[in-house]
Structure formats: structure tokens, C-alpha cells
Symmetry: C2
Subunit: 439 residues, 2 copies
């Protein structure tokens, strides 16, 4: 088996494929803020808007305002969908005015039923103008990704022959497309088919970059991504919160239930856990996912967003810079017996020992760390062996990062409170040298 | 790359691992009914209950009643967890009385923190009695699966060395265990680690059957299952609706967010779509998942449960036996132009043509099928090319299966109603020979 790519290039699709399914208009400034956060979090491919006709998809009626408003990182590629000539005209005007995009997506589908339902075009009607779009965009210096939707099957037509996908890829490349995206538009793919299709297309077009774009319609989004990854695909798509799917137009719905993209938070988590570099970190992407939920006003589909990253003891020594108000520190377990408890001079000494034991499950503790205990309500005696689980919530971190205050709760295995109160962590040295020692 | 197993053996864990996380007691008869439905759906491995102390996990206080009540298929393996001596005594009494199980699961965890938090035992305290349990169960003619929980990481302790997992597997096998389950108890696994761990253990113990048990805590359940499958593992676990996780006891919670098992509905869908035989079919398992939702009174996590199976044209010719009241037939698309519409003698003839076109996207239609149209409200004329999406809901199927009545809705691409009304499908021949022709 070939080794997996050691690094992948993720595209964050929330602002386009994600929002296209939202019936409520998201304010332009909220879109701009989210895209800016994506840029700052480290995404280097970002779908920003669509040049679909605003009457068809009102969500993108503000596309030009979004392009004007967003921060640009020169290392990032900003991408828009251009479904027709007029859309390209509008986009090229933006480019000339200095607020265009770096790349466009040209849209076709391997299933003609889908083309008709989604774009009201037959294959022939769709192809001819699209070839012009690809060529014109290319002449204007834009990269072009040729999207082949329903590449693994179609909610309307059912199975889609791989030969048709191959033929469309060839056609796109002849028109000058730089990359080919295989879209699992309505979530019909499975890992075996993903492997077969990508293996065939990558064998046929070994020099071409393919973009894997899966929807999590039936829960297989990450498994399909894994299959594409293991076939050597390095460009992968996701949307914060796993939103997206059929655009919110007046057109009849062509599928039920889930329809969104692979959830970016879970995707980044999977890849980073596998040791595949995304240029992103799970914690920041979870923060972004939570922000996406605030913008949309509802809980979205990210799993890691709710469950948090996998538990792992940090390599970094605990420092105030690693803490922020509201942070929940995962529970750490400690075993205490009547005998071992007697070795402590006081209840406070026992409490401190337990607190250190619990914290040290998450980080190595710096030498010289002082623990100030206040208001601890503990048991009077320890009649038998106790399993104690201690968890913390950070209340505040002082500006000089010399001290953090935490709420602490220790519980025994029957759920009883063993210790509860506030603690202060006093970090050694002025300004938190513990942090600098361990960078 | 090795070929995947062509057939897998799935264990349905809903009644044990699934329900252990439910705080509300599920009535005994509901448990029995669900297990019977699993048996009839074709599951050949079913976790039925736990012999944990009823005071610790009240959900399983009725374990013996469940064992007494369920139907038995001699080809199926019924499984219970036995966490201690007294539990085994109670189970062996059941076995002697004729309503035992075929297999027990003995529980250990690679993380001592987890053992302490979950079982209030150190590794040494857990191992000694467990060895007795394995040996006694074996002598009594029961199969034994040795469970190694937290095999890929632990919500309390973080990383778990593979060497410890290997050592515990060896220990279990020395005690006489028949199979080894690696449990991703708190959902810390990722596909790369799954591959490494299984590759190592399967190399070390090539004759041993391993059981892959993942939790979907961070959305990676199916991707991890895929990785295990591709490492040759044929025993896989899931729970209907993706429920499960930490038992509902008074013990403090050791993780947040999602905690359930891989969702059986999505798991079966993935495997069957990949051409890997499970002995189950997606439709029946979706029905089971919906029943599990009715029992628990809430919507669960299955994706395919909401979105339905992938769209595919059936090989079977349409017959009344394939329809049932309430069935929603997926939309089929049809293109009509002013010119083509003029070739129909009447509105009804046009409607019938569209209905046949839409139905034939799902099944080949039998020769001699008659379509009776009543109450269709259609447009007066067709001014331009129209993309029409037609969907159906089955209202009734007559007892002789000669006729089915359906609600029909055809919509144009702007969401307008093109045709709406009731149709009758009259199947050729008495008693529906179309079905028999195509068995």
C-alpha cells in the first residue's frame, strides 16, 4: 500500500456550498467575518461566494460586497462558483477592480437529470457555454477547477457510469481546466466506489490534481474522504458544521434528510490525528465551528465540536498562556486510600496533591507552581479506597499570566463531592517564564 | 493491497452498549421486542444484556427476564456482558434453566484510569477474577470474547501504548478467550492508529478473530471501521441509532458530547454498498432504526435513517409487492417541450407519460401495466421547455396485489405544480404475476 499524502490542502466551503442551502439570508458582514476567521485560522483554500443569479439564489446576492470586504492572505486561494457568462462578466469586473478571486469553479454534473433539476440545462446546453467560461477565465489569469457533480451517483438518476466521469474530466482538461473536482453532490458514494473511480481517473490523468468533495448525506463522508486520501488525493473539501447541499431556491427538493458537506471540524481532527498535516489545528477549527453555529443560530453537525479533541497529555508544560476563561480542563483521576490519606498533614495538603495529580494528566506541571486553595469543602475522613475524578473550569487568567483562577470539582465514584472550591495557580517567575522555558 | 473481506459478521449492540447510556428504564417487553426484530432482520450476533449489578446499572436489572423472553434463532449468537463472579453465577443458572447466552464478554481496559473510573478496580484487581470468569465460562461451554476497552486511547488517561493492548490480548488468550475485542471506548481512535494496532495484533495473533468496536464520539466511527476492515477484521460492532457510551450510573461523567457506538444503519449501508455481505439489507435495518427511535421517544443519529438508501434503479420489475402504504417513491425527472407536449392526445395522456417516465427511474415497468389517473390538475399549456420532477407516495395496495393507489405530485423547476392527483397502478394478471415473473 502506498503511503498516504503527508500533507493535504483543505478547502473550506461553508461560505458557498454551506450557505447555499440556508433559506435565511446571512448578513454580508457576518459572511465577511467568517471568511476572515477562516483565513486567520490557516485555511489556504476558501470558497467565498457564487455568481449564480441573485434571483435564483438570493443568499449570494451580496457576492461582490463579500469580495470587497474580505481580508486577503496572499498565500490563500479564494474561490467563487461561476455558473454562466454573465456571472463571469461580473466576476471579471471585480478582478479588474482589485477584489476578484484566484480561482473559479465551473459546474457540470455527470448526471443529466441533475443538470436539468439543478441548472435547467441538458448536457449539451451546459457544456457549450461552460467551455467558454473555462477558456475566458483562464485567459484572465484565473485558475479553474472543473467540477463534475454527481460523480459517484445521483439522487435523481441513480447510478452514474465512471466512463461518463472520465469523459467529462477529459473535456474539462481540453478546455484548459487546472484541476478536476469529483463531487458526491447527493451523497451516493461509498469507499469502494471512491477507490475505483479515483484509481481509474488518477491512472488516466496522472498529472492532474483532483479535488475530493463529499457530502455526508448517509454518514460516509469521512470514510469516503479516507478512501480518496489513500488513493493519493490531496485536495479535500469540507464545510464548518457539515452544512450545505441543494441550494435554497424554489426548485423542488430532490432528496430528504441530511445533505451537508463533510464536516470540516471532524475532517481536520481526523487528518491531524492521522499525522497528516492540514496547516490547521483542531482547537482553532472547533472555535470556528462554534462561531459558525452562532452565526446560524443553531447547533450544527460537528462531532468533535461537541466532544472536544482526543485526550492526550500535552508535551508543553502548563502555563497561563495555555488557559483561557471558560476552558474546561478534562477530568483527571486519582486513587486514594485511608492509609495514603493519613500521610497528608492537612485536608488542604491532600487537596493540593489531588489537584496536581489531576492537572498533570493534561500537562507536565512547571517546577515552582504554587496552588492556592480557597473554600474547599472536603470529606472528614476516608473510610475506604476512593476513586476521585477531578475537573476544572478556568475562571480567569491575569494579564501578566502569572496567575490563573479555576473552579475545581472532585467527585468520588458514586458521584459524591469529595472536594469543591476555587483554586489559584501561581506560575513561577514574572510574566510566566514557564511558558518560555518550554517553547 | 489485500482485498477486503467479502463478508462480515456484525454485532448489534443496541440492547446492551446502546441502552447502558440511557438513564430512563426501557420496559422489558420493549427490549425483548427489539431483540426479536434484530433476530428476524438477520443479525447473527446480538448483545442482549449485562450482568452488571442492578444497583450499579438499573437498566439491566431485567436481564434474566429479557433472556427468558427473547426468541432464539439457532444460527444466531446471543451475548451478555459478565463483569464479575456473581454475574457469572446468575448467568450460568440461566444457562442451566435453558435461557442463557451463547457467548459472554469479559471486560478489561488497557487504561487503568478507565478501569478505576468505570469499574472501581485497578488492573491487578480486575485481572485476577476475570481470569476465573473466562475459564469458568469456557468450561460451561460458553464462547468468550475478551474485551480490551480504551484500546486506542482513553478519555481519562490519554494515549495508550499498543504494547499494553498486545499484552492484554495475550493474557486473555492464555485464559482461554475465543476472540479479542478492541474497544474504542471513548472514541479516541483514528484510521492510521487503527491500522497500526490491528496490523500489529493480527500479525502477532494471526489465528485469532478480532472484533472491532468503535464509538462515534468524534465522527470517525465509520472511517475507523473501514480501516479495521481493510486490515482484515471481519467482526464489527454497531448500535441502532448510534446510541451508547458511558453507562448511566451515578459515577461522574468522563467525557462530553457524543459518546455512542458506530450507527448500525449507516454501517450496514456502507458495507452493503461496498459489496461486502452483512446478511442484512439496508431497508430492513432502517426500519429497525426507526423502531429504536419509537422505543426511545426521540430521533437518533442514523444518517441513512433520514436520507434513505442511495438511489439506484432496481433490477426488479415494478410489482405491487414492492410497494407498501406510506412508501415515498423518489422523484423522477422528465423534460417536456411545447413541441413534445403536442404529440399527446390529451392532458391525461401527457400525465401518464410523465408518470411512467418518473416511475421507470426507479424500476423497469411491467408490460401491461395500466395507469388510471383521477383528479389531475395540470397546466393549460406548455409555453416553454419544462423540467418536471414527479414524486409519489403510496396510499394503498390491494390484498390481491393487483392494484396500488398513489398520490402523485409533479413540479416544475420553479416549484410550481404541474400535475397533482391520485393514480392507480393496475398490475397485469391476477394476483400480480409481474412479481413472480421477476423473482
Amino acid at each position: 500500500m502506498k503511503p498516504n499524502p503527508s500533507r493535504v490542502n483543505l478547502c473550506e466551503c461553508w461560505a458557498r456550498d454551506g450557505l447555499q442551502g440556508e433559506a435565511a439570508f446571512i448578513p454580508t458582514q457576518a459572511k465577511i467575518d467568517m471568511i476572515d476567521r477562516m483565513t486567520r485560522a490557516g485555511f489556504r483554500r476558501i470558497e467565498v461566494t457564487s455568481f449564480a443569479h441573485p434571483k435564483l439564489i438570493p443568499q449570494f446576492g451580496d457576492g461582490i460586497e463579500v469580495l470587497k470586504g474580505i481580508e486577503r492572505n496572499p498565500e490563500a486561494t479564494y474561490i467563487a462558483i461561476v455558473p454562466n457568462d454573465k456571472g463571469l462578466d461580473r466576476l471579471l469586473d471585480c478582478c479588474q477592480a482589485g477584489y476578484g478571486v484566484d480561482e473559479i469553479m465551473a459546474i457540470l454534473a455527470a448526471s443529466e437529470d441533475y443538470l436539468l433539476a439543478g441548472l435547467n440545462r441538458t448536457m449539451d446546453e451546459a457544456r457549450a457555454p461552460l467551455g467558454d467560461i473555462v477558456r475566458r477565465a483562464h485567459q484572465a489569469g484565473l485558475k479553474v477547477t472543473g467540477v463534475i457533480g454527481t460523480a459517484f451517483g445521483c439522487a435523481l438518476a441513480g447510478e452514474v457510469p465512471v466512463e461518463r466521469v472520465e469523459e467529462l474530466a477529459e473535456w474539462y482538461l481540453e478546455q484548459g481546466a487546472d484541476r478536476i473536482m469529483l463531487g458526491d453532490t447527493t451523497g451516493e458514494a461509498n469507499p469502494a466506489r471512491v477507490r475505483r473511480v479515483y484509481r481509474r481517473l488518477r491512472t488516466r490523468f496522472p498529472e492532474v490534481d483532483f479535488v475530493a468533495h463529499f457530502h455526508d448525506t448517509r454518514g460516509l463522508g469521512l470514510a469516503n474522504t479516507l478512501a480518496a486520501l489513500e488513493e493519493g488525493v490531496v485536495f479535500h473539501d469540507g464545510s464548518l458544521g457539515g452544512i450545505g447541499g441543494q441550494p435554497a431556491t424554489r426548485r423542488p427538493k430532490y432528496h430528504e434528510g441530511y445533505s451537508g458537506n463533510v464536516c470540516t471540524e471532524d475532517l481536520v481532527f481526523m487528518l491531524e490525528e492521522m499525522g497528516i498535516r492540514t496547516g490547521l489545528d483542531t482547537e482553532s477549527v472547533i472555535e470556528l465551528g462554534l462561531e459558525a453555529e452562532r452565526v446560524l443560530g443553531r447547533e450544527l453537525l460537528g462531532h468533535v465540536t461537541r466532544s472536544g479533541p482526543a485526550r492526550r497529555r500535552s508535551d508543553r508544560v502548563l502555563a497561563a498562556s495555555l488557559l483561557r476563561p471558560g476552558l474546561k480542563i478534562r477530568p483527571g483521576l486519582f486513587l486514594i486510600s485511608p492509609a495514603s490519606s493519613r500521610s497528608f498533614d492537612s485536608e488542604a495538603a491532600l487537596a493540593e496533591h489531588m489537584i496536581r495529580a489531576a492537572l498533570s494528566k493534561s500537562w507536565p506541571l512547571p517546577e515552582g507552581l504554587a496552588v492556592v486553595i480557597s473554600g474547599l469543602a472536603g470529606p472528614e475522613s476516608i473510610p475506604e479506597r476512593e476513586v476521585v475524578l477531578t475537573r476544572f473550569t478556568v475562571l480567569s487568567v491575569d494579564a501578566r499570566q502569572a496567575r490563573a483562577d479555576l473552579e475545581c470539582l472532585s467527585q468520588t465514584s458514586d458521584g459524591g463531592v469529595f472536594f469543591q472550591g476555587r483554586i489559584g495557580l501561581l506560575f513561577p517567575g514574572p510574566g510566566g517564564p514557564a511558558r518560555e522555558e518550554n517553547s
